[in-house]
């Protein structure tokens, strides 16, 4: 128990510490975001002092850009499940590695949501009145009380799932299914609920016909499932880009310049070697003696020096390697840049995918330290795989890698595609309903789309949003967007379009005209805009830091096994992530 605690604290400590480690670009990025945060904080301090009069809001338009952003971000948070569903319900392995990034995005988005609600309150000092048990909680009458529950519940759930999976990966343990799978499924239902409840905030208001329409909920969901995965498509490409070393930087060995896999000393394996392996890989103990014996026949032990390549991406090869001593890093070349997909230590294997599937090597493996390796042919691996315990551990470790493949992005593309089609379809239904038989209820829509009695502040915005959505839809439907370039354009257009349409385009027209027919327009003040920018910067900062922690854990470079190595301070060969030079090296420059 004590040890587990200490271990967990070490994990937290190392995660925290790594958040402050990076190269100048990383620091510049953090600095920039912090600057925006501080400017936003300053604006918020002014708002605290002078009241919401510093915003553009009024009694007529009593919610503005804060709540608009809140609404949009709830959608982004909910969209994390669009990664979870394919993986956990339909067993899609391609997206498996992305789930954690999606859930971390959800965490960052919910934090921003809560911040936006907080800055919108007239009396933030009284937020505790909202806490069930302590304050007065108008549940189930008020939809806002539902929102408090579902948003915080969703935050906790995602923090738990991410934290637990990352800790297990760090610890080299297999996560216990009962400890996270129920939450995964709960989170799926919950994601729909955070969205629906937020929609119901508006739908439930009988006096506001623009909102009091059953289609608002479905439109929320459809637009969230468009904008969320679109954001993930972009974020994942950024992750892929920053986790790759620059090409030919001299640090990562280009495949052609490395020593051949035959480098280093080699000798037939002995029973002692197998026992050494068993000491690192307890499951190996379950392998019967006769199989051990038969394996020995073709087994070879290699002693390699740092920088030696054991196998190379694209080559044929059907051997598997088990690490007996030292560490090996597995890198994958993608578009001329290298990315660490795994860092393998004693007892762990690499090269098993090619050995089992007879496909070419998917990555290059290079010794990071002087290492001792056991090389087995595919047949021997097959024999080992017949032992259930070995099969389980080897199969599990096969999935422990960081791969963001184009195919995964294409799966996300088809989600965005279908969601966008549904979103536009729902929009068509709404517009038909409003304008085919224009009742008095059409006033808000009239204001939004065409202006009312000479007021038309939102008209250019909504048409830009519709144009963006339509262009994005066409791009997504056409095969053109199988190219990342066009896909990215489509994603950006979809995100901006939905941000306008679902943020300001939903919140503001609900107030115009007022229930008494008055028209008072709204536009955010400078102070309000700065607060928003600050919260966005804070959210991006959170996501950056979360990624900074998660990526090395997923790569295996930050793990319990690397604890003794003193993290990134003592690695002499090369930088593990983010293309960031070793801190010590940087200091001694």
């Amino acid at each position: 128990m004590m040890r587990a605690c200490k271990n967990y604290l070490t994990f937290l400590w190392r995660c925290t510490r790594i958040a402050f480690v990076g190269d100048w670009r990383y620091y510049a990025w953090l600095g920039l975001l912090s600057l925006f945060c501080l400017v936003g904080l300053n604006a918020y301090a002014k708002q605290i002092v002078h009241g919401l009069v510093v915003t553009g809001m009024s009694d007529q338009v009593s919610w503005g850009v804060y709540i608009a952003n809140f609404t949009f971000l709830v959608g982004v948070a909910a969209a994390a499940v669009m990664l979870v569903i394919p993986v956990y319900i339909y067993g899609n392995e391609e997206l498996h590695d992305l789930v954690i990034f999606g859930e971390l995005l959800a965490v960052a988005a919910i934090i921003m949501c809560l911040a936006f609600v907080m800055v919108d309150l007239g009396r933030p000092d009284r937020f505790w009145h909202l806490i069930p048990g302590i304050g007065q909680f108008n549940f189930p009458g008020s939809m806002l009380s539902w929102d408090v529950i579902v948003l915080n519940g969703y935050l906790l759930m995602n923090v738990h799932i991410c934290g637990y999976l990352l800790y297990c990966r760090y610890d080299g343990r297999r996560p216990a299914k009962w400890f996270y799978i129920p939450f995964v499924f709960l989170a799926i239902v919950w994601a729909v609920s955070i969205h629906t409840v937020t929609a119901f905030l508006y739908v439930g208001l009988g006096g506001r016909p623009f909102w009091n329409s059953a289609i608002v909920g479905p439109r929320f969901l459809a637009s969230a499932f468009t904008a969320g995965p679109a954001l993930i498509i972009l974020a994942m490409q950024v992750v892929r880009w920053i986790t790759a070393d620059s090409p030919g930087g001299g640090v990562a060995p280009p495949p052609s310049g490395t020593p051949a896999p035959e480098a280093g000393a080699r000798r037939p394996a002995t029973l002692e070697d197998l026992e050494l392996l068993a000491s690192h890989l307890p499951q190996f103990a379950s392998v019967p003696a006769e199989i051990r014996q038969s394996i020995l026949m073709d087994a070879v032990v290699l002693d390699v020096a740092p920088g030696d390549a054991l196998l190379r991406q694209g080559e044929a090869g059907n051997e598997v390697f088990f690490v007996l001593e030292g560490r090996v890093v597995v890198k994958r070349e993608e578009k001329g840049r290298f990315r660490i997909t795994r860092s393998v230590g004693p007892g762990e294997q690499f090269g098993e995918t090619s050995a089992l599937t007879k496909t070419p090597r998917a990555a290059t493996a290079i010794a990071e330290e002087p290492a001792c390796l056991l090389r087995l042919p595919a047949d021997s691996l097959s024999k080992l795989m017949q032992i259930p315990q070995m099969n389980k551990i080897i199969t599990w470790r096969m999935t422990e890698r960081l791969m963001i493949t184009d195919r995964a992005l294409m799966i996300l593309r088809s989600i965005v595609q279908v969601s966008m089609l549904i979103n536009v379809f729902l929009l068509v239904n709404e517009i038909f309903k409003e304008f085919y038989s224009p009742t008095a209820h059409v006033a808000s829509s009239q204001y939004l789309y065409f202006g009312l009695h000479g007021y038309h502040a939102l008209v250019p915005w909504i048409w830009v949003a519709i144009a963006f959505n339509l262009v994005a839809m066409f791009l997504l439907v056409l095969p053109l967007s199988r190219s990342l370039k066009y896909l990215n354009v489509a994603c950006v257009l979809a995100i901006v379009g939905i941000w306008i349409e679902k943020g300001m385009g939903l919140v503001v027209p609900g107030f115009i005209p007022t229930p008494l027919g008055e028209i008072v327009e709204y536009s955010p003040s400078l102070n309000e805009t700065l607060v928003c920018l600050g919260i966005w910067a804070f959210g991006i900062l959170c996501y950056t830091v979360l990624l900074r922690m998660a990526i090395p854990i997923l790569q295996g470079t930050l793990s319990k096994a690397t604890e003794g190595h003193g993290d990134f301070y003592h690695r002499s060969t090369e930088t593990p992530t983010l293309g960031i030079p070793d801190v010590k090296t940087a200091h001694s420059r």
Binding site: S34, G51, D59, G122, L130, A443, L516, E518
Partner: protein, 315 residues
């Protein structure tokens, strides 16, 4: 927020060079300075929430003693601020009373006297001015409020071809504002008046979005009332001065009507268009009107809010 930005404050495992230490200290110091600078506007904050006020219990859960203390605190605060000793009371609803308001659209001339009497009586902020009553000028024949003029010039009332419809809180039997409040800071009393506890409201303005009558008002900044115009006769749920960041609304002049008087808007009305009384008393004027007038109108009846405010015609 800003501490995320500062570099690792802990010393690395092995020997820290002097240069690295200096660097860390510099970054740390400038971070703290930046944070302090960004929070600088808070120095202008004058109206701190006292611990006493912060910890104040929910209205319905307070004992009479606790309420007494709160009323004392309010008296103290008002005296401190306005140099006038007010008379603050927590007026309770009377048994067998349900208030109802009737307004004769035939008579109203749109003079807006009610609007200003209300502001004066109820200690609303006068800069910016918060008004509970909105008078619409409507063209003859239409009840479509979208055709209403909210900002007509009052010099020439009544204008030909128009009629006037004052709208204030309709004291609904099914008030949407009460339903949506997440912290129960607003509720309907047994005499039908929907009130706000200004000390419990968190200022989310959800009630303002929910109200179909544009009857709720938010204190977007610190309310300002000239000392000489403060009404010292105050009630807890009624016209005591409000703070920045909370909602308020028409409460049928709770400090008057629960003491047996007419609301301020009624008293000032020059045409007698306004009638107020207890619907549970069959002898009251409002009971008579609702019994005998052929047609009266509840605004937005289709919303199911069931207002206690009736518009009628001299028929």
């Amino acid at each position: 927020m800003s501490d995320i930005h500062k570099p690792c404050a802990c010393s690395p495992d092995k020997g820290v060079s002097r240069r690295s230490f200096l660097r860390t200290s510099t970054v740390l110091a400038s971070g703290v300075a930046a944070l302090a600078a960004s929070l600088a506007p808070l120095r202008e904050l004058t109206d701190y929430t006292s611990i006493e006020q912060f910890m104040q219990k929910y209205y319905k859960e307070m004992t009479p003693q606790e309420m007494e203390k709160v009323l004392e605190r309010i008296t103290r605060e008002v005296e401190q601020h306005y140099k006038i000793r007010p008379h603050v009371k927590d007026y309770k609803p009377m048994d067998g009373v349900e208030f109802v308001y009737c307004l004769n659209l035939t008579r109203c001339i749109g003079c807006r006297k009610c609007v200003h009497a209300c502001v004066a009586e109820n200690n609303q902020s006068q800069n910016p001015e918060i008004q509970y009553i909105r008078v619409l000028k409507l063209p003859h024949g239409s009840l479509d409020m979208e055709k209403g003029d909210h900002n007509y010039a009052p010099s020439s009332v009544p204008e030909k071809g128009f009629f006037y419809m004052p709208v204030q809180c309709q004291q609904c039997k099914n008030p949407p504002c009460v339903k949506v409040c997440p912290v129960k800071a607003t509720w309907q009393e047994s005499d039908g008046i929907t009130v706000v506890d200004y000390d419990w409201c968190i200022g989310c303005r959800y009630c303002e979005a929910a109200c179909p009558y544009f009857a709720r008002r938010f204190n977007f900044t610190k309310p300002s009332i000239p000392k000489e115009r403060l009404n010292p006769n105050m009630s807890y749920l009624g016209n005591r001065p409000r703070k920045q960041g909370v909602m308020e609304k028409c409460h049928f002049c709770i400090q008057r009507t629960r003491a047996g008087k007419y609301p301020a808007c009624l008293e000032v009305c020059p045409t007698g268009a306004r009638k107020f009384g207890n619907i549970l008393d069959p002898e009251s004027e409002v009971s008579y009107i609702l019994r005998t007038k052929r047609v009266f109108i509840q605004l937005k009846e289709e919303l199911g809010t069931s207002p206690r405010f009736f518009y009628y015609f001299d028929v």
